[in-house]
């Protein structure tokens, strides 16, 4: 395993220690519950927005804590949802008179832990709302499966709900808004390589030198098909088509377009992918109002990328344009 790591058990806590050392005064770390929160929150003036999921997807979601984004994040171990107690403490710590909204990606572990934490929090009289995110079109959504996975579309749900929370929207309004964003966002990813959870010490799946996994999950879960390596434009065409046709998007739509790196792919390649995605949007009559090229939701050091489209309206355009400030910055 070739990684910057000390004892693999310390991987997540030491990353979080680094994060708060780099953001002194802005972020706080509660080691007992592996929890990162804004130093100035909660406030009874706004609903608190929180999230907890497995680690290994950075900057999602611990590095999305900050003004205009999450108020707190409670990451579990690498690829492991946080236990109920941690979720519950996060809710309690961020308890606000306006309520607490947790945004949960649609994985069984995440959902069950948060459901139980919510029941317990509500028993203590805390007002808790939930939005489930499931934007990954690679997985078939049917009643006898666990449903689609939540992937990079998560970013837009956080951004919109957090911006609306800063504007004083109520918990009910935020739940409705989050569901609206989730209903309008679709993603699909592709892996060129596997990745190695520190505690495992070995790649999580095997992939040939000339193979790609089309529709890969952010924990290395299989996608739609194992294919031969193709030119970048051909890969983007596949992702775009799958994402575009799923909602579907229509000529005349105004959209946000994201090319998200999965961790091991350099930003040069992401812009090369963005080029083709932007051209395809144009061909299909979609107007790209906002674009996002970089890492938003990764799988450790996996080489690969995902494409996300969000259908916009005036409300969402204004929310995406609202100011925000997170640890991941250039300046």
């Amino acid at each position: 395993m070739k990684k910057f790591v000390n004892d693999p058990h310390d991987f997540v806590p030491q990353m979080l220690e680094g994060l708060v050392l780099a953001n002194a005064g802005k972020l706080e770390y509660v080691p007992q519950y592996n929890l990162i929160c804004r130093s100035d929150m909660p406030s009874d003036d706004k609903v608190s927005i929180i999230q907890g999921s497995g680690s290994g997807h950075e900057p999602a979601h611990v590095m999305a804590v900050g003004r205009g984004m999450l108020d707190a994040a409670v990451p579990g171990g690498v690829f492991s949802a946080p236990p109920v107690e941690y979720c519950l403490e996060c809710i309690k710590l961020m308890n606000s008179a306006r309520g607490v909204l947790y945004l949960v990606n649609n994985y069984q572990g995440d959902r069950m832990n948060w459901d139980m934490a919510r029941e317990l929090a509500e028993a203590e009289g805390i007002n808790v709302g939930v939005v489930v995110i499931d934007d990954d079109v690679a997985v078939k959504d049917s009643t006898h499966t666990v449903g689609r996975r939540g992937v990079a579309g998560n970013f837009f749900v956080i951004k919109a709900c957090a911006a609306a929370a800063e504007q004083g929207k109520s918990l009910e309004e935020l739940v409705a808004l989050g569901e609206k964003v989730n209903a309008a966002v679709r993603s699909m990813g592709v892996a060129l390589s596997s990745c190695t959870p520190p505690a495992k010490g070995e790649p999580i799946f095997a992939i040939g030198a000339d193979e790609i996994e089309m529709g890969v999950g952010i924990h290395g879960e299989p996608g739609r098909s194992r294919e031969k390596l193709q030119p970048a434009d051909a890969i983007i065409e596949q992702l775009f088509q799958a994402v575009h046709d799923d909602l579907p998007f229509n000529s005349g739509d105004r959209v946000a377009l994201m090319i998200n790196g999965l961790g091991g792919t350099p930003v040069s390649e992401l812009y090369l992918l963005y080029r083709k995605a932007a051209l395809l949007c144009e061909e299909h009559g979609l107007t790209v109002v906002n674009n996002y090229v970089g890492e938003y939701c990764t799988s450790l050091e996996m080489a690969g990328a995902s494409l996300t489209l969000l259908k916009l309206d005036q409300e969402l355009e204004a929310l995406l344009a609202a100011p925000a400030e997170v640890p991941i910055r250039v300046f």
């Binding site: 579990g76 946080p82 236990p83 572990g109 999580i204 924990h219």
Partner: protein, 215 residues
């Protein structure tokens, strides 16, 4: 008559804890085949606390003891396993809150309550290739002994066989719940880590009680 005491229950739980800790790596490796390789780590995280806090656990009744175990597991175990195992212990504990001893019929009722709770929590049913596919046939078998007086050792032996058979039977199935289910057809042929854990624990319980009886 087979009567189960608080001490028996404690020995069962202690054996489960030791088994989880001894098999941390093995259980995670099983999860690597079609899941995300954290099952052993997750279980061990919870049972480590059970083990560490062993002397201080609430022993005011069988139910209160199990509820305390449930709280630890739920609190400390991430992923699917925390809610699933925690719910199992909780439902069994609620049914035995005031009990100081249990008959076989009580055990069956507690197991059924645990199974129902797990189903409600995670939405899985029999045949989805989860630990339910060990727990359900084990409970069915145990129920057969309610009206048929049998030596405790033989009952344990039988349940162990049922659990180990479940590993074999279900390996050929496709997973329908949990992260394994994303793998679809690729999960066929690999044993489910949860089922293996139940069988391994049952085998260990069997050995422990046999050893205790012989001493």
């Amino acid at each position: 008559m087979n009567t189960t005491t608080l001490d028996d229950v404690a020995l069962v739980v202690k054996t489960m804890a030791v088994t989880a800790l001894e098999n941390e790596k093995y259980f995670s490796e099983l999860d690597a085949a079609a899941g995300d390789a954290d099952f052993g780590v997750s279980l061990a995280a919870g049972f480590q606390v059970v083990n560490d806090d062993w002397e201080q656990l609430d022993r005011s009744s069988i139910g209160n003891f199990l509820l305390k175990i449930s709280m630890i597991i739920t609190g400390k175990v991430g992923g699917c396993s925390g809610p699933i195992w925690g719910t199992g212990f909780m439902k069994a504990g609620l049914l035995s809150k005031d009990k100081e001893t249990l008959q076989i019929a009580d055990l069956v009722a507690m197991l059924r309550a645990g199974i129902d709770g797990i189903m409600a929590r995670g939405g899985a049913k029999a045949g989805d290739k989860t630990l339910l596919d060990a727990l359900i046939p084990m409970t069915d078998k145990l129920e057969e002994f309610v009206d048929t007086p049998t030596a405790a050792a033989q009952i344990r032996q039988t349940l162990t066989a049922v659990a180990e058979q479940a590993i074999e039977t279900t390996s050929a199935w496709e997973a329908k719940r949990g992260r394994q289910s994303f793998t679809g057809a690729r999960s066929i042929g690999t044993p489910d880590p949860g089922i293996v854990a139940i069988a391994t624990m049952m085998r260990a319980i069997n050995n422990t009680f046999d050893g205790a009886a012989r001493r």
